[in-house]
């Protein structure tokens, strides 16, 4: 009897602890790279581009986590991105409260709305779910587009920052060199946190629920609440990306909530490979630099993105991250064989 016990609990835990060690190491290296980046990247333009790319990577990560832990595809993720941006922008500009309050509210409000929404729509799978998220996203877009008193409707609104936020000089958020490090650090910490969550009992539970919702109930779990929590987490990350973008650009517009933005985020996640934690971020990074390569023909960037999506879905079912992992596995496999 005890042998079976140790098989389930013993070595498994040890492996987990080792992996956590590796995770911390990777996170530290990634953070260090971020702090070095401003010294390594010569041009301000590149830093600015990278900052924007990191914001996109964060948004794509939020789409990915919903797929990875919930098995759900959202066509309305930009809603939470934009909701974060708008909550922050509107509270700051209309002077409903301090910038600090706005920042907190901009994280809390989308998270809460997504959580409550999750309680209702978590059970609905597949295409109907995609349609619902699309509808919710477009409904919010319509509000932002039509309601001029809120934030100038379709013109959008500039969001001047106060001198300091949480005692930090506002220039910090608007200069590429510092904002890049800040956004990158947040992304690394987010991925680190998500990796820890995935390994926690809660993460394992959501994975089990994603695989088979009904059987999860038959082993004694309510499935709605865990799903709704993942919606909340996902929206929190999206809102964070939206706030970062608003801080950096000092501008909000309904386009942030539009379904084409949701679609782009989703494509980034799929191209990168949403089954792997860092896949969506990788996808966002790759597609962002496609835009730069497209250069003067930026008008056709969406076509490039669409084309990439078609090629990737047909040829790389696990996305670019899956490809990298496969190549790595092959390389290390060869190395192992060489050693023995």
């Amino acid at each position: 009897m005890t042998t079976a016990d140790t098989r389930i609990d013993g070595p498994g835990f040890r492996v987990a602890r080792q992996r956590n060690g590796r995770l911390v190491a990777i996170a530290c290296i990634a953070l260090a790279l971020g702090f070095l980046a401003p010294h390594l990247i010569p041009s301000l333009l590149w830093m600015s581009l990278l900052t924007q790319a990191v914001v996109d990577m964060t948004l794509a990560t939020s789409v990915g986590i919903l797929y990875r832990q919930n098995g759900r595809i959202s066509f309305g993720q930009a809603a939470f991105f934009g909701l974060g941006a708008y909550t922050f922008g509107v509270i700051t500009v209309r002077e409903f409260g301090s910038a600090e309050l706005a920042l907190v509210a901009a994280l809390v409000v989308p998270t809460l709305i997504a959580f409550l929404l999750g309680l209702v729509i978590a059970r609905i799978p597949g295409v109907a779910h995609a349609m619902l998220t699309l509808a919710v996203g477009q409904a919010l877009y319509e509000i932002a587009f039509k309601w001029r008193a809120l934030a100038n409707g379709d013109d959008g609104m500039s969001v001047p920052l106060p001198d300091t936020i949480f005692g930090i000089d506002s220039d910090f958020f608007q200069s590429p060199a510092t904002m890049l490090v800040f956004c990158w650090s947040l992304l690394v910490l987010t991925l680190f946190g998500l990796a820890l969550m995935a390994r926690s009992p809660f993460g394992q539970l959501t994975e089990v629920i994603r695989e088979n919702d009904e059987r999860a109930r038959f082993i004694g779990y309510g499935t709605t609440l865990p799903r709704a929590i993942i919606y909340g987490v996902s929206a929190f990350i999206a809102a964070m990306a939206g706030i970062l973008q608003t801080l950096y650009d000092g501008y909000i517009s309904p386009q942030m909530l539009h379904w084409s933005a949701s679609g782009m985020a989703l494509i980034m996640a799929i191209v990168g490979g949403p089954k792997i934690l860092w896949g969506p971020a990788l996808g966002a990074f790759i597609l962002f630099f496609f835009k730069d390569i497209a250069g003067d023909a930026t008008e056709y960037w969406p076509a490039l993105v669409g084309g990439t999506l078609i090629v990737v879905t047909l040829l790389l079912p696990e996305g670019f991250a899956g490809l990298i992992l496969k190549l790595l596995a092959r390389a290390t496999g060869r190395a192992d064989r060489g050693r023995s």
């Binding site: 079976a4 498994g12 394992q204 994975e207 695989e211 004694g220």
Partner: protein, 234 residues
Amino acid sequence: MTVALEGRGLSRAFGGFRALDGVDISVESGQIRGLIGPNGAGKSTLIDVLSGRAQNWSGQIFLDGEEITHLKIQDRRHRGLARSFQRTNIFPTVSIGMQLTVASRALGDSGLAEVVEALNLGPLLDHQAAKVSYGDQRRLDLALALVGRPRVLLLDEPAAGLTVEESLTLAGILRDLVRRWGTTVLIVEHDMEVIFSICDRITVLNLGKTLAEGGPDQVRRDPAVVSAYLGSQA
């Protein structure tokens, strides 16, 4: 003997078709009860209703004398009512060890080691469920129902798709385990050999109604049963 599981006036209709038509069933504590009947008799529907999977049904269900009619699937499970599935119902891409660990986190790990050992899942704990053989998946399905030592176990054709030999082995393992635990069992099975070898008492359903109930020998000799069910096979 106390009654462990009781259903009163259980009915369920799909459109005009009455899959279950006022079935009363009462299973005594510690008993292994067989549930047989021709295809479409309502056996699986009865299991679905009792386990909380079915929707739009009527009647009342009691577990150890307490009414559980309106309880959700997971709440019934926590009260000690578990079930297995005719069509393997597992978590395909999750490792077998992790599925069992997650289940035992909710239900307690008493008996987990025993289940893993009895069903010989020990060597497979690190494997992804989708990648093991069909027979292994059937045993995993059963193990997921056995985690936490349920007091009442509903088994919907646990041997479906197994060879004669495999199903008799499985029946033996099951019988030993539930006898040791004193689990109450309601088992649907097409394989008559399995049913008559492990059941204390048998309920026969036909066209959504109880046709007969009694000990194995009594049921075997019941003319109504023979004509409705056994006759068609003989």
